[in-house]
């Protein structure tokens, strides 16, 4: 019952956030819609009893990454995009491709319609994730730190002001 309520609330809010992302003229409103979508995804993770991922989703995505996006949007002072909701044949093709993708994937996934996910609604994922990270996935976990350092150095090198030329 709790899973049903959580699913319907957060599925509708999440899809509304995604629609708001692609139909807002202003980049700031798009970013705020995406934050709404990320929060509702955290709610969906919670309804799948993945509470560790729900916390990480809010901390990393809705917290860190979207603050970075908003900083860059406000730093660059981008203009509102014209022609977002005006019909354009090329945009019509994009919508057709999106609808074809939805139909195709639903046809692939239709066999899962009988698979129930309403198991025990227990919270115990953090412990299991911690054990996995420190035992089986220890090497990938350490490699993540290398990737983050590489991304940090790369971002500084790419975005700095070049003094030569």
């Amino acid at each position: 019952m709790l899973q049903t309520i959580l699913f319907w609330i957060f599925a509708i809010i999440g899809i509304a956030g995604a629609i708001g992302l692609i139909f807002n003229k202003s980049a700031v409103y798009s970013a705020l819609s995406l934050i709404l979508n990320f929060f509702s995804l955290a709610g969906l993770y919670l309804s799948l009893s993945a509470e560790f991922l729900a916390a990480i989703q809010i901390l990393v995505y809705a917290g860190a990454i979207m603050v970075l996006f908003l900083f860059v949007i406000m730093l660059l002072n981008v203009q509102d995009e014209q022609g977002v909701l005006k019909f354009d044949p090329r945009q019509g093709i994009a919508f057709l491709i999106g609808l074809a993708f939805i139909g195709e994937m639903l046809f692939v996934f239709k066999d899962f319609a009988g698979t129930s996910l309403s198991g025990s609604f227990a919270f115990g994922q953090v412990e299991a994730v911690g054990r996995e990270l420190m035992t089986r996935y220890l090497f990938p976990f350490e490699m993540i730190s290398v990737i983050l350092i590489a991304a940090l150095i790369g971002a500084i090198v790419v975005a700095r002001k070049h003094s030569y030329h």
Partner: protein, 115 residues
């Protein structure tokens, strides 16, 4: 009320719709930052389907009898999130470098590689 009960197909449907909206956004929007946010949306849609599959299979390699704490699919989502964070940092720095050089992030005007 039983038809409202979400099964695996419901979660996968939400995931597919979010991914398709990300595709539409990438193809229709021209603001570089918004295109980038649509890519983030697609990454998150895939994460949702991974969590749903993880819940479907209840995989816990340390204790197979334990049905509640399937962490194997969650590990994949965790690593996807880490790589997405690194990707966001590098992509935004590319956008800043683009803005420094052209004072514009409309991706229709970015054709300096065009021959």
């Amino acid at each position: 009320m039983s038809f409202l009960e979400p099964n695996a197909f419901s979660y996968l449907t939400v995931s597919v719709i979010m991914f398709a909206l990300g595709i539409i956004g990438v193809m229709t929007r021209r603001n570089g930052i918004v295109v980038f946010m649509c890519i983030e949306l697609m990454l998150n849609a895939v994460n949702l389907s991974l969590v749903a599959f993880s819940k479907m299979h209840h995989l816990n390699p340390l204790n197979p009898a334990d049905p509640t704490t399937g962490a194997t699919g969650s590990m994949l989502v965790f690593f996807v999130m880490c790589v997405a964070a690194a990707e966001a940092v590098v992509g935004l720095s590319v956008i800043i470098a683009l803005f420094r050089n052209k004072l514009d992030i409309d991706i229709n005007n970015v054709n300096i590689f065009k021959w």
